[in-house]
């Protein structure tokens, strides 16, 4: 891995190393588990990290292009980046989980709601409705009341999982946490790389107002 021997800040190297260590630790486990489940450690592989990195970069480029023409205040740009990152994460899940479908559906629904309000009566998307209804019908009350309350809080936190059965909710949560961890790793690496570049360019070129946030 010659490309990862970095001249960047030690923090970036640490993030890379942590990612590599995780992959090595889970690589043995996933080969032992084989094809039992649907790839439990999918979010830990280096390949997924690479795919997400390039998708994230493209998404951020789009945000930049969009905000340069319209009003680009700091807070809205940050939120636009967050939404683009979440959307890219949901796409990476390849539509197999409830939370990823919910993220993509809510985004699309926001567009279509504006459009349909002008054209004709809004049509409710049936797929999410059916999924929630069938999941609720397969059995929900297998947990004691105080547990159910915590489970409900969890359902609020994970997008699109408010009405799932308890076991399904646990599965969704597991996948969602792993995906979030990958998202954090990737965004941190990207931020380190960008700030290293800006530090280099500001020290080498004319003094710009960019300060590298270490």
């Amino acid at each position: 891995m010659a490309s990862t021997s970095s001249s960047t800040t030690p923090a970036a190297a640490e993030v890379e190393e942590r990612g590599r260590k995780r992959k090595r630790a889970d690589g043995a486990g996933s080969t032992a588990a084989g094809g039992a489940e649907a790839q439990p450690s999918k979010w830990r592989t280096r390949r997924e990290h690479e795919i997400y990195s390039s998708k994230l970069l493209e998404a951020i480029r789009l945000v930049r292009a969009g905000s340069s023409s319209s009003s680009g205040s700091g807070a809205t740009r940050g939120r636009a980046v967050r939404e683009a990152a979440d959307r890219a994460l949901a796409v990476a899940a390849r539509g197999r989980t409830h939370w990823s479908r919910a993220i993509l559906a809510s985004r699309r629904r926001r567009f279509q709601a504006v459009r349909r309000a002008r054209l004709r009566a809004p049509a409710t998307p049936p797929s999410r409705h059916n999924a929630a209804a069938s999941a609720a019908a397969t059995g929900q009350g297998s947990s004691a009341p105080p547990l159910a309350e915590k489970a409900r809080m969890l359902g609020w936190l994970v997008p699109g999982c408010r009405r799932l059965s308890f076991p399904t909710l646990l599965e969704e949560t597991t996948d969602y946490i792993e995906a979030l961890q990958m998202q954090v790793r990737t965004m941190a690496a990207l931020a380190e790389a960008l700030s290293a570049i800006s530090a280099n360019s500001s020290s080498g070129g004319a003094g710009s107002s960019n300060s590298s946030a270490a």
């Binding site: 740009r77 940050g78 998202q183």
Partner: protein
């Protein structure tokens, strides 16, 4: 998927899912006897962990949106970024 045995989910399945979830939580709060600790405590930890992850993503988004101006001036730098990430 979850309707294998009719409408009752066995406790074993739930315990297995819970232990899988526990394996993901940050190791600082994990102990050997934690497998016996209440599931509700585990769920609470999971909630706060997800919230902290959300906060981290928000912070990183802010940071990235501030750094986006770096990409404006230097388009060849984007290629450098891609090669760094690979």
């Amino acid at each position: 998927m979850s309707g294998r045995r009719g409408s009752r989910i066995s406790d074993d399945e739930i315990n297995e899912l819970i232990s899988k979830l526990q394996a993901l939580l940050p190791e600082s709060s994990r102990r050997r006897s934690a497998s016996r600790s209440s599931a509700s405590k585990l769920l609470k930890e999971t909630c706060s962990y997800i919230k902290s992850l959300h906060r981290e993503v928000d912070d990183l988004s802010e940071r990235l949106s501030g750094l986006m101006s770096t990409m404006d001036n230097d388009s060849p730098q984007a290629e450098i970024i891609r090669s760094l990430l690979r």
